[in-house]
Symmetry: C3
Subunit: 272 residues, 3 copies
């Protein structure tokens, strides 16, 4: 099935809370080693790598600095955003755990991802997703105007438009990411891979629950449009350019406009 | 019909010129009240809300300041853009009247729009449309290089690419808006709702009239592509992901690639 | 065939190396004359046109300055980028030759392109393509972290995501350009026209050669998705919104989702 340049492999079970500190420490040590190597090989990048990675004492600080710089404007200052992100990451370890799972997802599933630091610095889908998780936290804390201001900056800067109320799991790869739109009542499970120009949208319902619910391990190809309060089952695959208006059972593939089901557990489709 | 998260309802007739000053004053008073409430509830946003809304004496000034800040660059200064927008809004009241109608459209039709100030500050489709109307005015005044420079900044900053010659009515909702492309000879009527990734494009004709003409009250779903000098009749609906190469009669729905007509006045389609 | 607003005409053979200096000098003299005319007619643009065009002694310097300003950030300084671009253009004349061929392509094929300077200053597809060629050069010189940092800035600023390893010919028109994604092992021939939202993507293969190979003179309509290591033959046309998973022979048209062939040398399709 066509779905953009992804290896979408089943993952081993995620680390439990006890294992996570070690996991994060290991990924962060890798990122620093990569940045040191790149700064030596490419002096033109040394100052950039120092300010974004090497000068920081943790992944949380590096990510907060980088997001603050990317998302700031003349009226929404980088210092305010840095504090906002760092406070969120410090007070909720699950945010950092999700970032580490997303870094791993990019390294494992995207053959074009050459290092953790490449993803951390350069993947707009990764950065938009981390900023979204902070916006979502603000939303659940009833700090909605701030959540929406952040949402707007993410959409301006990365062309990734995820409503702050949308719920997104861990181990997510938003590959390329330009043009992704995720509506207010959408839910995305764990270990999903979602290509660029994907819409999880509504159908004109006046309000309430009106956006797709995406199960764990789903792969959604470039330009697919999924509309309405439909369920996309665990491990399903949605072909590029599909327009999906129906539930898709687990481990089933849907393709076309409008999308039809072409394979399932009993009668698996040939996936390239 | 799938079309993104819109309530596309018939609207009451728009205010006449005599009623408009009152209408604008009421919307502006709402925006200031919303900003005051949000600044109190969220001190992190107070400075931002003061500079974008609370420090200004009118909607025109607030919008000019906000657009100037969003669209400026190191070589196209925010002060120049502020003056440009303010002069345009001051000299042509229909620009402000259209902005007010667009604010109302977002509040009425988009269930995710929680306040007028949310739309004014955060909706890239709203901001791109207001900046486009100023670019269009410059275009009709034969100030084409400036109109095209503005067009380019709108496309860079908002990923919304509307040729400055294109004619756009009032009460327009560009929802999400990323990736919208509207060609030089396109015309969009009043009270239309247009989702993200919509193209109103050409078909390779050498020049002249070569883009779609969209009637009043049309709804165009996410990712729809309408090409050539075709007419989309009043109240028609174009499904998400459709590729439309033919005229669509009033109050008729078109879906698919290539699009076919699936409902009309006599034989209405089931709209979800 | 619908393909966005392009006149896609066969071009005369490109200049040989001996003729090129003259060609570039002529185009640059046109650009300066256009900028002088526009600065006189529009004082609001005079300072902008002086800093981007009139103050520079060559197309290379003007382009390096403009790209440096567009792509810089608070951590990736415009001076660093200016030096990087100017060094690349100075050391490899084929980069400037390709830029001139692209400027000509926009003027000849896009009816909305009113001047060379309009394309140079305002076309995000043109600017993204020139910056990509420099990123590609860095990639081939094993300066991959810098190539990827540049790639990321191009994707953030222009919403055009071309992997630095992708090979792109001359005389290319990326029209509108928002949302274009071109994968790592993709190849694009000479004199192609590619509309916005076009994806040249992979199909999930683990690695290696996994993206499309586009022949000379191909036209790819808005929103078309071409996936996998397929060959699109010389002079082929791909309809807007198509999803192409198969080889397309030369001078043949493919349309639909999934795409089917609708015309060829012997049985030409009616192209509008």
């Amino acid at each position: 099935m066509p779905a953009g340049e992804l290896r979408h492999l089943p993952q081993s079970s995620p680390p439990n809370a006890a294992e996570f500190d070690e996991e994060e420490a290991w990924v962060w040590s890798q990122i620093k080693a990569e940045a040191r190597r790149d700064a030596e090989a490419e002096p033109a990048l040394a100052s950039y790598l120092y300010s974004t990675i090497l000068s920081h004492s943790s992944l949380e600080r590096s990510l907060s600095f980088h997001l603050g710089n990317k998302l700031c404007s003349s009226t929404l200052l980088s210092t305010l955003l840095y504090d906002l992100f760092l406070n969120a990451f410090s007070s909720d370890p699950s945010l950092c755990s999700a970032a580490v799972a997303d870094l791993r997802a990019a390294r494992v599933r995207d053959p074009a991802c050459v290092s953790f630091s490449h993803c951390l610095l350069n993947y707009k889908g990764f950065l938009a997703c981390q900023a979204h998780r902070v916006a979502h936290k603000l939303w659940t804390q009833q700090r909605r105007p701030l959540a929406l201001a952040l949402h707007s900056r993410i959409s301006d800067v990365f062309a990734v438009d995820i409503h702050p109320a949308a719920k997104i799991g861990k181990g997510i790869l938003f590959d390329h990411a330009t043009g992704v739109v995720v509506g207010e009542t959408a839910v995305i499970g764990n270990n999903c891979s979602i290509l660029h120009h994907v819409t999880l949208g509504g159908t004109g319902k006046v309000g309430g629950d009106r956006h797709p619910k995406i199960g764990d391990g789903v792969l959604i190809g470039a330009g697919a449009t999924i509309l309405g309060d439909v369920k996309i089952g665990e491990g399903a695959k949605i072909g590029s350019g599909s327009v999906v208006l129906i539930d898709v059972p687990p481990k089933t593939t849907a393709v076309g406009n409008p999308a039809r089901l072409v394979g399932g557990k009993e009668k698996p489709a040939q996936h390239e």
